[in-house]
Symmetry: C2
Subunit: 116 residues, 2 copies
């Protein structure tokens, strides 16, 4: 794959596996392009909540709205322009704020493969 | 390392190695934390220009301003909320627009180590 430029319109947002809340992910670059990381956009509806043990290292950059990530007894809130780094193996709860959230994500290795 | 939340204020922006233009990078997460990716903020002054062959896979998320990436005979412009993916080995010219640019970056593997 060559250099690529992506906008939200390039992503096909699909409901995140195993989630009931309004949480969508759309990969732009992943193993299919021979990349070593997966890159995409994520969208969380207002108050949407996701609890999971991370199968991969996951970086989220908040573009719009906001969310709170809780891990153990620590809760970290992030808004536009802020970055959340979540290492593989951590148990996290991601909760979107009242406005929901739009994120860009980068995972290593590929989250879809790690989920099996 | 545990889950981390970062803002621009957390980054110590340093002039990018081998660059004369106003281009600064500040790692937030890298090999020092045992991460598999490097995460940070980048700042480009107005019109700043960087030409390099990528030693790592590099994802840039534009947060403010804009920039154009030229690779071969293709030029791709990105503004706030847009993502540029640049694979290892590509020769690129990154040129900031009149307002400069603020980016979040994720590289795999670690760009500082790859530069030696």
């Amino acid at each position: 794959m060559k250099v690529g430029r992506f906008t939200l319109e390039d992503a096909t947002l699909e409901r995140s596996p195993d989630q009931n809340d309004e949480i969508y992910a759309g990969d732009l670059v992943n193993a299919a392009q021979g990349a070593s990381v997966t890159v995409g956009y994520g969208r969380y509806g207002p108050g949407a909540r996701l609890e999971e043990t991370l199968a991969v290292h996951d970086v989220m950059i908040v573009l719009e709205g906001g969310l709170t990530v809780t891990s153990g007894d620590r809760s970290l809130s992030a808004g536009p322009g802020e970055i959340v780094y979540m290492p593989e193996g951590e148990r996290v709860v991601i909760q979107a704020g009242e406005q929901g959230a739009l994120t860009a994500y980068v995972t290593h290795p590929h989250w879809r493969e790690a989920r099996g």
